[in-house]
C-alpha cells in the first residue's frame, strides 16, 4: 500500500539528485553558460508541460480553476470543516503550484506542524486578490493584529507525542498521512490517526533504509554479544524485541507515549 509511493518517492529523489549533480558539475565562474544548462532552458521554453523541475519539487497539474471558483468550492465542499477564511489548498497547491513547505516551513525541524503566520499570507495578499472579499477579511485580521484561528483537523491526543520532523526527515510524504491535500477544497481528515493506522506503517516489513531507527547505524557499530542460554523472566515482549530492529519506525511504546 505505501510501498509503491515509497519507491516512486525514492526514484524521484534519485532523479532529482542526479539532476542536482548535473547542475553542479558546471563551472563556477563567469563565462558562457554551460551546455547542460542552456539545453535545459531551451527545453523549458519549448514545452512548459514537460519542463524539468528543480530537485525536490513535485510536478503539479493545474486545472485552470479561478480564485472565485476556489472560494465557492470551499464554501460548498462536503467534507471537512469550514475555515474562517475560505482557504483552498487545491487552488494554492495545484493552480499556483506552491509547495507544502513554502507555507509549512519549519515542520522539518519541529515537533509540531508549523501553521503559516499571517505575515506569510500577506506576503502575497497585500497585493494579490485584493478585490476578493475573503482576502479583504484576511487583511482585516492583519490590520487588527489578530491571528486567524483556523479549525484544527489533525490532532493527536495529549498522551501522544508526535514529532513531525522525524517523519519529514524519514522522507514520509505529506500525502501519506494528510491525503491528497492538493485536491482538497477544504482540508478534511484523511486518516483516522488511530494508533492502529500509525502501526500499519511502523510495523511493516521493510528495507533497512535509514527510516528504521538506528538499524543501519547499528550494523556499523554493533553492540557487545549476548551469551546464550538465558531464560526469560516474566512476560517480556519477545516479539517486539525481535522485530525492533527490522521495523520501519520505532514501535516501542515510549517512542510516542511519554
Amino acid at each position: 500500500m505505501k510501498l509503491p509511493i515509497r519507491l516512486i518517492g525514492a526514484a524521484a529523489f534519485v532523479a532529482a539528485l542526479s539532476g542536482l549533480l548535473i547542475a553542479l558539475s558546471g563551472p563556477a565562474g563567469d563565462g558562457p553558460a554551460p551546455a547542460a544548462l542552456v539545453a535545459q532552458e531551451q527545453a523549458n521554453q519549448a514545452n512548459p508541460a514537460e519542463q524539468e523541475l528543480p530537485p525536490g519539487i513535485k510536478p503539479r497539474t493545474p486545472t485552470g480553476q479561478t480564485a472565485e471558483e476556489a472560494i465557492a468550492a470551499h464554501m460548498v465542499a462536503s467534507e471537512g470543516p469550514e475555515q474562517p477564511i475560505p482557504f483552498s489548498h487545491r487552488f494554492h497547491s495545484q493552480e499556483l503550484a506552491m509547495q507544502c513547505e513554502y507555507c509549512h516551513g519549519g515542520t522539518e525541524s519541529s515537533v509540531i506542524a508549523v501553521i503559516p503566520p499571517v505575515e506569510l499570507c500577506m506576503g502575497c495578499h497585500r497585493i494579490v486578490g485584493a478585490q476578493l472579499e475573503p482576502i479583504q477579511r484576511l487583511r482585516g485580521y492583519w490590520e487588527r493584529g489578530e491571528p486567524v484561528q483556523w479549525e484544527r483537523i489533525y490532532k493527536t491526543p495529549d498522551f501522544v507525542q508526535f514529532p513531525h520532523r522525524a517523519h519529514i526527515r524519514s522522507q514520509v510524504e505529506c500525502e501519506e498521512c494528510h491525503g491528497k491535500v492538493e485536491d482538497m477544497d477544504r482540508v478534511y481528515m484523511f486518516a483516522s490517526l488511530k494508533m492502529g493506522w500509525c502501526l500499519e506503517c511502523h510495523w511493516a516489513e521493510g528495507e533497512d533504509t535509514d527510516v528504521a531507527t538506528d538499524r543501519l547505524l547499528t550494523e556499523q557499530f554493533p553492540p557487545p554479544p549476548t551469551p546464550e542460554g538465558r531464560q526469560p523472566h516474566g512476560l517480556y515482549p519477545r516479539a517486539i524485541d525481535q522485530e525492533y530492529a527490522s521495523s520501519r519506525g520505532p514501535i516501542d511504546c515510549t517512542a510516542c507515549h511519554y
Partner: protein, 1017 residues
Amino acid sequence: MKDGDRHMNGDGGKLPTVTGENGAFFETSRRDFLKVLGVAGAGAAATSCGPPDMGDKLIPYLVPPEDIVPGTNVAYATLLKNGGPEHLGLYANVRDGRVIKLEGNPRFPNRGRLSALAQSALQDLYDPDRIQGPRKLDANGFVEADWDEAVAAVAGVSAPGRTVLLTGSVTGSAAEFYAQWAEAIGAEWVAWEPLGLEALSTAYEIAFGIPGIPSYEINRADRIVSFGADFLGSWLAPVEFAARFADARNIESGHHAKFTHVGPRLSLTGLNADEWISVRPGTEGIVALAVASEVARRKGGGAAARLEGILSRFTPAAVAEIAGVEPARIEHLAEELASANQPVVLPPDISGQGAGSTEAHLAVALLNQVCGAIGTTVRPGAGPTRGASASAATMRNLVERMASGTIDTMIVAGANPVYGLPNSLGFAEAFAGIANRVSLGSHLDETAAASNWLLPANHELESWGDAEIRPDVWAVCQPVMRPIFDTRQAEDVLLSIATATGRASFEVEDWKGWLEADWRTNYEQEAPSQAPFDEFWFALLQAGAVRRKPAQPDPAATLSPAAANYQFTLPAQESGLSLTTYATAQLYDGRGANRSWMQELPDAVSKAVWNSWVEIHPATAEPLGLETGDLVEVRTSAGSVTAPAFLYKGIRPDTIAIPLGQGHTQFGRNAQGRGVNALDLLDGTVDGRSGALAFAGASVEITAVGRRGKLAIMQGNDTDLDREIGELMRVDDALEAIGGHRVDLRQILENAWDSDPKSPYRWAMSIDLNACTGCGACVTACYAENNIPAVGEDLCAQGRELSWMQIMRYFEETEDDGFQTVHVPVLCQHCGDAPCEPVCPVYAAYHTPEGLNAQVYNRCVGTRYCANNCPYKVRRFNWFTYEHPYPLNLQLNPDVTVRETGVMEKCTFCVQRINRAKLDAKAEGRHVQDGDFQTACMQGCPTQAIVFGNLKDPESQVSRISKGARAYHMLGELNTRPAITYLAGVSHARLSQSGHDEHGEDNGAAGEHDSAAEAGH
C-alpha cells in the same frame, strides 16, 4: 496544542449524537464532536481569569520571531539576582514564547547549575497570586487603576526630602540608577537585604581594610572548617560552594578534605560534615579565637607574635565552659588546622549571628590569618559582590523617622520589610502610619498588602538589568518572555514617576536605553580598540556574562593594627535554652513560600513539608513528654509562637531552632496562614559594630501545648537498618580502593531480556553519594521538566506525594556516639529485571529495547500492582487530577504528558530528552554520543553527583564511573539488576559498623563472587 488543564481520555466509545452541518442527525466520533464543539464554542467565555480555552484551533503567529521555529526550545541567557542568596547565571528554555525550564549558564561561578530555589523561580513568575496590574486602595480594598493615573498620583506626593525609596540590595546599573533617581527627586534611597552580610563585611573591613565579601576557595582546601555557615544550602553562594566542596572531596583524584562543622546545630551543610563540634549559639567567635590561639602556639612565627595579646586570653580552657565544649576538642581541631597545607575556615551565618556578630566574624578572620588561609583560600574583597545593604540598626533609625512624621511617601521595590523585619523593630506600624505607601513589588506580599498604591513590576525573568557578580565579572539579564500581566519594568516606573514630578529629566527614554548607554560608556572607555559596541552587546546578551578588569588590582591583605589589638569580649556564662533561627534552602528568607515546589521539597534536616517546626534535642524533649509532631509553644521576651516539635539529635540539648520563611499573613495561597514566622521571637537586638540583627542567642522557654500538631515528614526511617540503601565508607578504605572494581555491569549489559542486543543504547545512571549534599536541586528540576504537580500538605502526610525523585536522609552511628549522614537520591532504578513489569495486567509498565522501564500513561488502568511490587517504592500514583491554575499551566513542558487521576507515573530517565537527542543525532546520521544531552536531574545537580549515559558505550562517563571501587546497587541482593549505580559516600568519621568490605559483592550474580571484582581491588 497541549493544554495542561484539559485531559483527553482515550477513545472510550461513541458519544451522543449531535446535529451536523446539514441538519441531519448522525453518530460522530469524539473528534468530530469536539470539532463541532470547537466551531460552536469558539466564542465561549473562559471560566478562569486567563486566556479563553482555545480548544481545537490552530492559531499561528501574526509576525513570527525570526529564526525561531515554533515547537522548538530556544535558550536565552539571563541572570537571577533575587533567586536566593546568590546571583545565578542561567539559560531560560523558552518554548513558543513561554519559559518552561531554567538551566545554569556554565560561564558563571555556579558552573552551569542552579539551586532548588532558583529552579522554582518559574513558579514565582507564573504565580497566580501575582499582582496583575496597577491597583489603588479605596474603601473596598484594592481596585484596578490606570498606569498613568497611578504614576501621576505617586509623582504628586513624592515631595523632596519627605520621600523614601526602599529597595533590595543591588549592584551595577540599578545601583547607579537608584542613586541618581533619588538625587533627582530629592528622595532618600535605602537598600535593605533581609539576610544581609553586614557583619561579615564590617569584620573584613576592620581586619584588612577591604570591605566586601571575601572569596572562599574551598576547592583548593585540604581542610575545611565552618563555624556555622550553611554554605551548601542557604549562605552566600550555595551552588558555587557546593561545586567547590565536591572538588575538594573528589576522592578519585586522591584527596578528600576533612570538613568540621562548629556550631549549635547541624544544618544541611552540617549534615555533610565529618565532624561536629557542638558549641553554644553565640560562642562561635570565642571558640574561633581559642582555636586560633592553639594554632598560633603550634605554628609560631609572626602571626602568633602579633596576635599574642588577643590569643593569650582566649585559651581553650578559658572558653570551654562558656561555649559548652571540651578543651580537648578545640586542641585537636587546632592540631589538624596547623598541620594542614591549605585550610579554609568559614564564618557563622545568621544561625550563629547573635549580639556580637562582627566580633565573631572578626575572630574567624583572625583564625584564617593564623592558619595562613588569607590570600590563598580566603581572599578579602574577591568574593561575590553584594550591594550596600542597610543593617537592622539603620532600619530601626528609619522606622523612628517614619514614626515621627517626617516621611510622607515610601516607595518599596524588591523588598518585603513588613514581613522580613521582626515585629520588635516596629516597621509594620510605622509603615501603616505613612500617608502614601507605594509598592512596586510583583507579589501581593505583606508590604504590598499594607500599601495604598500597587504599581507592579515585571518579574526578574521579564526584566532588563545587570549585576556585578564579582569585581571582575559582570552579567546582564534580559527578558525571556513578554510580561504575563499588566506590569512594567520597575526602573521604567520610577523613570515615569520622576518625569511626572517635573523635577527631573533623563536623557534616555526608558530603562533599557539607560542600561545600554551605561554599558556603552563603560565599554568605550575600557575597550576602545575592540569590536563596535553593538556587536559586543549582542554577544554579551547571548553569553550572559563578561569579564572586566577589576577597578583595582587584588590588594594584598595584611592584618590591620586595629584587628591585631581588637578588644574581644568574653561573654557571660549563659544557662537555659537558647534560640537559633536559620534560613532553609527552600524558603530562604520567605521568598519561596508561595511556590508549591518549595513547600513540597522536604527540608534536608527534618524532611518535613508545608509547615514550620521547632528542632529540639530528644534529651530536652523527653522531660516535657514531647514527641515529634506534638505542639510546643516557644516564648521569648519579644513574643511567642506555637509549632510542632521535631526531635533531632543534630542540635544541642540547650538549644532549639526554628526555620525562617513561613508564617506569612499575605503573599498567596500557599504561603498564607502556614507555619510560624520565627522573626516574631526576635527582640531586635543588633550587633554594635555593624548593626546586624541578632538572629540567634535569645533566651527561650518552651512548654508542651498538650496537643498534636500536623507535621508531614517524608522520611520513613532515620536509618536504613543496615540494608545498604545508603552506604558510607571510611576515607582510608576509599583511598585504598581507588581503581578497584565492585559491581559487575554484565548482569545488565549481557541480559538478553534487558535491552535489545541490536540497540546501541542501554541507558543508565550513576549517583555519587560522596558528592550529593542533599540540597534537592535535582528534585525540583525534575518537577519542572516533567510536569509533576504538588499535592499539598494533607496528601503528603498520607504519603501520596508525587515527587519522582526523593532524597532519603539516613543517619549512621559513629564510634564516638555521634552520627554521620548520607543523602540518597532515590528514583526509579530502571531495573533490568523489574518486579513491576510482569505484574501489570495491561502492559503499561514494560521494558523498552533500550533498557528503560517505561510507563505508558494511556494504557494504565490504575491497578497499582506495579507500585506494590516495586521494592524501592519509587512509583507514584495520581490519586486525583491536580490543578495547574493559570498561569502555572504555561510552565508545563509540552513534551511530557500531563497525567490525570488513575494513572501511575515515575521517573522515565527523561525519555523526552532521550528521544529528542536521538532525533537530533539521526538528523546528523550518527548515534547519540556521551554528553549530547543530560537528564533534568543531572543537569540540575550543583556537584555533578548524577551522571547519566549509555552503558553500552564503554567510554561513556557513566560506564567508567559505574566500574568504580565505591559502586554498589541499592537492594542489589533482590536481583532486580538496577540501572542506577550508587557510589558510597566517604566519611572521615569512625563509623560504627564495618561498612562494606573492600572485596564487595556482585549483587546481581546471586551471591557468586565475580573473579573480575576480586581481582580488581
